[in-house]
């Protein structure tokens, strides 16, 4: 049956590769952390002692009890199988160290909106901006401005947002006091759909978002520009011009439409990768997102939270690329026919 439906076979193959890669990546992460020669419970107990400045008695059986709680007992393969059982069947990522006994999935659910809001919007914003500016830079590439703009984009594209953030905070936040640069909203306003809270949350998001946008918009400008330059060299562009169409129509219906597909795919893949986020940005701005949760859980070797967040990131990246693989044949007739032929 598979032989006769190449499209179905294509989808099944893609789905199988998707599952296999997720499983593989997850297994590597799981074992890398669990094999680290560190006893998470001791470091946790030490953290408690520091917190309450008191010695904890009767360590022995208490340690075993907590090990069992956190699923750290038994041999590694047992832990692995138990963890998988919990995750797949009971959707339970286990308790977290950081604020025991809250479940990891609740912690993630609490912090996910902040990361998605901050990173999601800045990536989409830089995509739209990058597409427009990149298009113009590619189309009018003889002009001096587009040359200078491209050089700026090239320099910015590889710099980690973190370093840009420091400069932004130094000038806008620190010197001019124009924008807040700590936390995600002003503590005095309770969380809720009140205007104050939203306004404060927005102002707090400006600096972190700007540092992310500045870097990723540069990347989008470059990729769109080289895409447009290739399209400009195509015969159908010359033919469109020879038809005497207005420049704006040619730009919109011939150049941009051909650039749309590859850039939309790239956006889907980048959005998928938004999860591993820019951890340092969240640390610098003390932003309560997934990245900040991850960095604190690593310090304390909170295996469950680490594995939970990493799993989430892997799944989101792979799902994004799977969706793109599934959608492509439907959107682009050329790919559909090539699959049927291949």
């Amino acid at each position: 049956m598979l032989k006769r439906h190449p499209l179905l076979a294509y989808y099944l193959r893609k789905f199988a590769a998707y599952l296999f890669t997720i499983w593989g990546a997850f297994t590597i992460t799981f074992f890398v952390f669990r094999m680290l020669p560190v006893n998470p419970i001791d470091s946790w107990v030490k953290a408690l002692e520091r917190q309450y400045a008191a010695k904890v008695e009767g360590g022995g059986e208490m340690v075993n009890y907590y090990k069992e709680q956190f699923g750290l007992n038994g041999t590694l393969p047992e832990q692995y199988v138990r963890y998988l059982y919990n995750v797949l069947i009971k959707q339970d990522l286990g308790p977290s160290f950081i604020n025991f006994p809250t479940k990891v999935q609740d912690l993630i659910a609490q912090r996910l909106p902040w990361t998605v809001a901050l990173l999601g919007t800045s990536v989409v914003l830089s995509w739209v901006l990058g597409l427009i500016v990149g298009m113009l830079a590619g189309w009018f590439r003889e002009s001096r401005i587009s040359g200078a703009l491209t050089n700026v984009a090239i320099s910015l594209s590889q710099i980690p947002p973190y370093l840009i953030a420091v400069f932004l905070v130094l000038f806008l936040g620190y010197q001019l006091r124009a924008l807040p640069y700590r936390g995600a909203w002003d503590a005095q306003y309770p969380i809720g759909f009140t205007w104050d809270f939203i306004r404060s949350a927005l102002t707090h998001a400006i600096l972190p978002a700007m540092s992310i946008v500045l870097v990723s918009v540069a990347g989008w400008i470059l990729s769109t520009r080289s895409l447009i330059i290739t399209i400009l060299g195509e015969d159908y562009l010359t033919y469109a011009e020879a038809k005497g169409l207005k420049t704006w129509d040619i730009m919109r219906r011939y150049a941009l439409r051909n650039a749309m597909l590859p850039q939309a795919t790239a956006l889907a893949l980048t959005l998928g990768a938004v999860m591993n986020g820019t951890l340092l940005i969240e640390i610098l701005f003390v932003y309560p997102g997934i990245g900040e949760l991850l960095s604190r859980s690593i310090q304390l070797f909170d295996f469950n939270t680490i594995t939970g967040v990493v799993l989430l990131s892997i799944v989101s990246v792979m799902t994004a690329s799977l969706l793109v693989d599934l959608a492509l044949p439907l959107i682009d007739p050329r790919i559909r026919t090539s699959i049927q032929a291949a």
Partner: protein, 357 residues
């Protein structure tokens, strides 16, 4: 239109293989060679198409001869050449070197095969590694085939080879590929063959990317190779006029099958297969007084050719198609002397029932 000739004499397959009847043992021979590729067909039918479908040909150097293999794009001529060069294994049928199957050759036999069968590839711009100077191609050949005793012996042989193809060594040696024109690069390829002195050259559309004026220089060298050095050549092209200029025999390939073969002058003067007839009617003549008068029906060109095993490949387009053409694959019929055509028109049993297009 050429009248289909009367006497039927179906060429038996054995005769067919040796049909070209060169006196010496064939150096390179293809017997019922087929190459199938898997294509998805449409969403319902997943088929395998035979890009090359049971082709037999023999190449020998007694007497040295040029055989032109003429076919449109997609007719399988490049796949056939790659099989003859041992670069692609056939799905069925055999490629024989001096009577022995290619994949059964021992190390020494393989070396001998390489030294006696050499290619000229189509793309003069991709054949040279941009990293090296142009003469490296000649040095590698001289070194690997142990043609020179010392460095200056090699240098001297390379210069002689370049002069043999009308190139001044001072213009060529030391320069990089991108500094030479397409014509010059293809002639350096011929200089390489001059060094190696193979028995058979398999040239896959060597002149399709060069200008006409320079093209004749290349063709003349091929003719000299045959006459002066006894090197035979399988010349693959889509251009009938170029094939005509070289003379010798012609094999017309249509969608993977040899539909007609014979001496080129007889085939051009009196084409036996409808496909050859249509090809000849489509070639623009360079005489302004002999312009096309008849009108070629669009559909004969647009309708697809078919791969089905028991059908004539040309049936959809053929103005003389008969019921039998869609039931069996036509064998080769002897038309006159060594000219053969795979068409039932030459068989008196069916000749009468021609269905008007």
């Amino acid at each position: 239109m050429a009248e289909p000739l009367a006497q039927p004499a179906v060429a038996s397959s054995a005769a067919q293989a040796a049909g070209t009847a060169p006196t010496g043992a064939p150096i390179l021979e293809a017997r019922q060679v087929t190459k199938e590729f898997v294509i998805g067909g449409n969403a319902l039918r997943r088929g395998r198409i035979a890009a090359v479908d049971k082709v037999s040909l023999t190449l020998s150097d007694q007497p040295p001869q040029i055989i032109s293999l003429v076919g449109e794009s997609g007719s399988g001529k490049t796949t056939l050449s790659r099989m003859l060069l041992g670069l692609t294994p056939p799905t069925s049928g055999e490629v024989l070197f001096r009577g022995k199957n290619l994949n059964g050759l021992t190390r020494e036999e393989w070396d001998l095969y390489r030294s006696q069968v050499q290619p000229v590839f189509q793309d003069p711009y991709g054949i040279y590694n941009p990293f090296y100077r142009i003469e490296r191609v000649l040095e590698v050949a001289a070194r690997n085939f142990k043609l020179a005793s010392s460095r200056d012996d090699m240098r001297q042989k390379i210069e002689e080879a370049l002069r043999a193809v009308d190139l001044r060594p001072t213009d060529i040696i030391g320069r990089y590929p991108h500094q030479l024109s397409g014509g010059e690069r293809q002639r350096v390829m011929l200089a390489r063959l001059y060094l190696l002195r193979p028995r058979i050259i398999v040239a896959d559309e060597p002149v399709s990317m060069i200008d006409v004026a320079v093209r004749t220089l290349f063709l003349n060298i091929l003719i000299d190779f045959r006459d002066k050095y006894g090197i035979s050549c399988l010349f693959i092209t889509h251009n009938l006029s170029t094939a005509y200029y070289l003379g010798g025999r012609i094999m017309v390939l249509c969608f993977g099958r040899v539909v007609e073969q014979g001496e080129i002058d007889t085939v051009i003067r009196n084409p036996a297969h409808p496909y050859t007839q249509q090809l000849l009617r489509s070639v623009p003549s360079s005489d302004p007084d002999k312009r096309w008068t008849d009108k070629m029906d669009m559909r004969t060109v647009e309708r697809p050719l078919t791969h089905e095993a028991n059908k004539c490949v040309y049936i959809e387009r053929c103005p003389f198609a008969m019921p039998v053409c869609s039931q069996q694959r036509p064998p080769d019929y002897e038309v006159n002397g060594s000219q053969r055509s795979a068409c039932f028109l030459h068989d008196p049993r069916y000749a009468g029932r021609v269905r008007e297009a």
